[in-house]
């Protein structure tokens, strides 16, 4: 059984169908990719899978449990984290605190209204370890909004990692990055692969095809193709679309 499954998800905004009977499954320990043109419904699909939108019908299963329609916070606490296409950080916090606030250990102390926020050395060490993983250890005391774009992207992933997820959704992590930034991010994703199950929406096909174990293609709110990068290179739709220029 897959770690995460979505069965026949359907969602309408008014009279517009944005997701139509989408079924996806993500195996533990793998990196699954989602590709498709702008407006295809990829981010909306992520929003349904992570609880932001409730589907009109269909089911979402995580680790065998039905999580359909649960709130984002409830889903996050189960071990599903996500990054965002547009930067979504705690801008006034330091880099350290962005990560520390997202740790389950901080969440567990959320009712403590008198103690020191980050007095626990284990919690501090955990936050630093995550910053080290994404290459931001030296930036720990910098204010998040002062970081250059590429490092903000890395912090976006660090905040998601701080939730200690079993499954991590990355929504266009290379958006706005130059070639150096993409190379560093690819290296980070390679390191994360195996440690956590990854699902990634990506427009950069070279980036996605080099990293993903399997890829689903979404268009017009439907999954129109699924397979390994090698299989998709020969898929007629992918070959004929702009997305297939890589192949």
């Amino acid at each position: 059984m897959a770690l995460f499954e979505a069965h026949e998800l359907h969602l309408r905004f008014g009279d517009r169908v944005v997701l139509e009977d989408i079924s996806l499954s993500f195996e533990a320990g793998r990196l699954s990719g989602i590709m498709g043109p702008n407006g295809a419904g990829k981010t909306t699909c992520f929003n349904v899978l992570t609880g932001r939108y409730k589907p009109d019908r269909g089911r979402v299963l995580f680790d065998g449990a039905d999580i359909t329609g649960r709130s984002p916070q409830a889903i996050a606490r189960l071990g599903i984290a996500r990054s965002f296409q547009l930067m979504n950080l705690f801008d006034e916090f330091t880099v350290f605190e962005n990560v520390a606030i997202a740790l389950p250990a901080t969440r567990a102390r959320g009712r403590n209204a008198l103690g020191h926020a980050y007095a626990d050395p284990a919690l501090v060490a955990e936050a630093h370890e995550i910053l080290d993983t994404v290459g931001l250890a030296a930036r720990a005391d910098d204010i998040a909004k002062a970081l250059p774009y590429g490092e903000r992207r890395a912090l976006e992933i660090a905040v998601a990692l701080a939730c200690r997820p079993k499954l991590l959704f990355l929504d266009e992590p290379t958006a706005g990055l130059g070639s150096d930034g993409r190379a560093r991010l690819a290296e980070l994703v390679r390191r994360l692969k195996g440690q956590v199950t990854l699902v990634m929406i990506e427009h950069d096909m070279e980036f996605l095809f080099s990293l993903a174990d399997d890829i689903s293609v979404i268009h017009w709110g439907q999954v129109i193709a699924h397979g390994s990068p090698t299989e998709l290179r020969t898929n007629p739709w992918v070959k004929n679309s702009n997305l297939g220029k890589l192949a």
Partner: protein, 333 residues
């Protein structure tokens, strides 16, 4: 906050402010002012600090906080006149009544944000104000609740009389010290930092696992309770409780005090705001009944040229305040 560095419970600035305030009765009359003004400033400073827990620290733009101040005032007076004339009991009643009011409001508005949150706080503020005016048999209506006594402080071994303004000032100062210490600890605690995170990015806070509405509800109840405590002190200080303090324009005063003082960027800003507001009322008010016009112009000038408020003048590194409404209604994606 630096990586993992705990914030001290007592800071030199904190002690200096408390000590400076403790000297006020010694010189206030020599500068042409009067002892009761000191009491009033401390009560409103306590109220403004409590209010800033919601506005400055949590980014929740409440414009109906006067309701909680008023509930505290009535809670204190009604407990004294109908139950037990004991200072601690009556202050406790003020906190409980205001917290209960806060809990009712929080249950309805904590799932809202931005302008909807603000409008609902105004609506609830008006509801409480209307009830206070119309419940003549309980609150005295527009005539107010009169004959509230300044109860003595019973400490077991000793009793301190508070009928004089100087002794009342020192009692209110003790409450102010306790409240500021509590708030200082709170804003640097895990709970306080989560509130700060919610203020900056409510959506992200949800996606890292926080039940945002519970935190928003909890902080409103806490702020309401402490505002009620200030309201109880005010009822005792002026020996009466009136519905005026629950009105929309009184709720506006506390917003002005907090913003003028710099509550959006500094912990102590609301204290400065209360001081400036009440001094302006008395000093400018000595020359013209239209003192609010001049204070209003000061408010406009500050918003235009020094949006961080007067507290921003003391910051080593200037920070631009993020308006609560802008934060709360910012698109998440």
């Amino acid at each position: 906050m630096q990586a993992g560095k705990p914030v001290p419970t007592l800071t030199p600035a904190m002690i200096a402010i408390w000590l400076a305030l403790a000297t006020v009765p010694l010189w206030i009359e020599h500068v042409g002012l009067y002892q009761y003004l000191g009491v009033e400033i401390l009560i409103f400073a306590t109220y403004a600090m409590a209010y800033n827990l919601v506005l400055g620290h949590s980014g929740l733009p409440s414009f109906g906080h006067g309701a909680f101040f008023g509930l505290g005032a009535y809670g204190f007076g009604l407990a004294q006149l109908n139950l037990v004339a004991d200072l601690w009991f009556c202050l406790g009643a003020a906190v409980v009544v205001a917290s209960a009011g806060g809990a009712i409001v929080a249950a309805f508005i904590s799932h809202r944000r931005g302008i909807y949150y603000s409008l609902l706080t105004i609506a609830f503020g008006q509801v409480f104000w209307f009830i206070a005016i119309k419940s003549h048999a309980i609150t005295g209506g527009e005539d107010g609740l009169l004959k509230i006594a300044r109860l003595p402080v019973r400490l077991g071994v000793a009793t301190i009389d508070l009928t004089g303004n100087v002794s009342l000032f020192y009692f209110v100062l003790a409450v102010f010290v306790a409240v500021t210490l509590l708030l200082w600890r709170l804003v640097h605690s895990p709970f306080g930092r989560i509130l700060k995170a919610i203020k900056q990015n409510e959506t992200r806070a949800r996606f890292v696992g926080y039940d945002v509405w519970r935190y928003k509800a909890a902080v409103l109840v806490l702020s309401a309770g402490l505002s009620g405590l200030a309201g109880g002190l005010f009822a005792m200080a002026q020996a009466s409780a009136f519905p005026d303090v629950m009105s929309l324009h009184y709720s506006g005063y506390i917003v002005m005090m907090t913003l003028v003082g710099g509550g959006l960027v500094t912990f102590w800003g609301p204290v400065l705001g209360a001081l400036v507001f009440l001094l302006a009322r008395d000093v400018i008010g000595a020359f013209t009944t239209g003192w609010m016009l001049w204070f209003g112009l000061l408010f406009v000038a500050l918003v235009m040229y020094k949006p961080e408020g007067l507290g921003g003048l003391f910051l080593r590194t200037p920070r631009k305040p993020v308006p609560p409404l802008a934060v709360a209604s910012a698109p998440a994606e």
